[in-house]
Amino acid sequence: MAVLSYIQAVTLALKEEMERDEKVFVLGEDVGKRGGVFRATDGLYDQFGEKRVIDTPLAESAIAGVGIGAAMYGMRPVAEMQFADFIMPAINQIISEAARIRYRSNNDWNCPITIRAPYGAGVHGGLYHSQSIEAIFANQPGLKIVMPSSPYDVKGLLKSAIRDEDPVLFLEHKKAYRLLKEEVPDTDYTIPIGKAEVKREGTDVTVVTYGLCVHFAKQAAEKLAQDGISVEIVDLRTVYPIDEETIIQSVSKTGKALLVTEDNKEGSIIGEVAAIISENCLFDLDAPVKRLAAPNIPASPFAPNLEKEFLINTDKVERALRELAEF
């Protein structure tokens, strides 16, 4: 078992799946010779050759659409969008096609494609290399959206995504790529899609979050533990469709919920979480649900001071948790 970074876990999962199943192949911009602009596909071109690690023309709708065609044929394409921000031209293919193929054909056809994309801010990416895009897709039955929070989860969830019989949007936090490291088994394990995980058990307040924010929540929880405040962390892992059970159980227990996302607040994933809580946990709540999110601006501006202002961090989570705990 080795200590791997978040992005190394991506690469390892891809490599193992390509070794396991000849039908798995990778396509995207610069994924081949260059090994990806973030190096997520590093080494795969040398190992598997240009037929299975395909440098495509610069055209996202084709990357998705060609992948969808291959998936309907029976392959297991893993398409990379170079940045999540650049998935927009492919939305018609993803929503109108990938997400609808099984339903519209009454289970005759299906579309087992995985679409990977690095999202999120914190790397001086400015407005268009920083966006959280999950909310755009989180109302589309037929699609699954996975957003892992750690290297261990990356490996297990990416394998599940590739093996899934339906299309999966796999969103990787680009700031997490090199920031997060942990032990990742070299065994062939998977993590179920559609289930949230309690990343830390606690009794006073629940934090519901996902992706890189889980990291901040963990750090904040550590600090609060020193003051005797016990925080439970629910990591959604799959943000669509959402695992209602785990949320309801946790919030019913603690009676307080802090919902955290790096996305801008209005219309984000955590609105749905709040709705689930308000439908199911009203009489268990000791305090209003609290949302911690980015301001309602398109994405992180480039200037470093504005970027910092935009971002979620441990301090912000800690402050919000304290307020809620003291309520």
């Binding site: 192949f25 037929k51 299975r52 395909i54 495509t56 023309p57 055209a59 709708s61 084709a62 998705a64 659409g65 060609v66 992948g67 969808i68 065609g69 291959a70 998936a71 309907m72 044929y73 029976g74 392959m75 394409p77 031209p89 018609n92 293919q93 109108s96 096609e97 609808r100 193929i101 099984r102 339903y103 519209r104 054909s105 009454n106 289970n107 005759d108 056809w109 299906n110 039955p141 037929g142 699954k144 899934d164 019989e165 339906d166």
Partner: protein
Amino acid sequence: MDNLSNELLLEMYREMLLARRIDERMWLLNRSGSIPFVVSCQGQEVMQVAAATALDKEQDYVLPYYRDLGVVLHFGMTAKDLMLSAYAKAEDPNSGGRQMPSHFSQKKNRIVTGSSPVTTQVPHAVGIALAAQMEQKNIVSFVTLGEGSSNQGDFHEGLNYAGVHKLPVIVMVENNKYAISVPLNKQVACDSIADRAIGYGIHGVKVDGNDTMAVYNAVKEARERAINGEGATLIEAVSYRLTPHSSDDDDMTYRTKDEVDQAKSIDGLHVFKEELKTKGILTDEIDKELEEQIKQVINEATTYAENAPYPEIDTIGRFVYAEEVK
């Protein structure tokens, strides 16, 4: 025409006629209030059947657009299947009554499921060709669309991908001169849609879509090139849309009856019929027999579909995702 057997020629004629007659019946059913919607193949049966006949219907994949009745009939869909779809009944193999009619799909016949947004099927065809190439299968994918739809980004992206990767895909643009109400000259400014091929480094050819053998030969050659590793072909087949855009349209608000009548006078189905007659391949007797047969098939299909049950209401939530591991 001489290189094809009389049997095959007659079979092509039969399929064209079947498509036409099914389509006509759909209009009757629509106008009498029995089915809510029709979108027609009329005027395009010749190119559809001719093209499909040039393919290998046991192995190739087709990605038809909504007018391609002729293509799907050749690839194995039946009149009954089509009527079940028109009536939105549970047994409809295209979608189990979930999609509007003419959203063709039937996996066992490699008819790939399509949606309503136009042109999305072009990249899919390219992806299927890519997969087939990876698996070293000697097959092609065949995809069609309207000339208006050839202005969507997916056309460009799909064809460029096919060009760069030299994939065995045949793209046939069925140019029927209108995109709903918008005439060709407001859709494109090029002399021929086939001229777009050069921008993708692929072969391009324009044919008379009313000329059975011209279309057949163009697709036959395209298929040979594809199988020989020479890559994709863009075919523009020109004809005319003989009906309104759909049962919801009134085409007299944007074109004249004269113009339509003029097009009807060179209707490819009629031209082919006369050719076969001149050559003695088709006789009045055979024709009458065919018409009888077809009528019966359509009658039976209609009755069956009419009486078939709708999908169970509690199936509405099924098959959003896989229900168990396959």
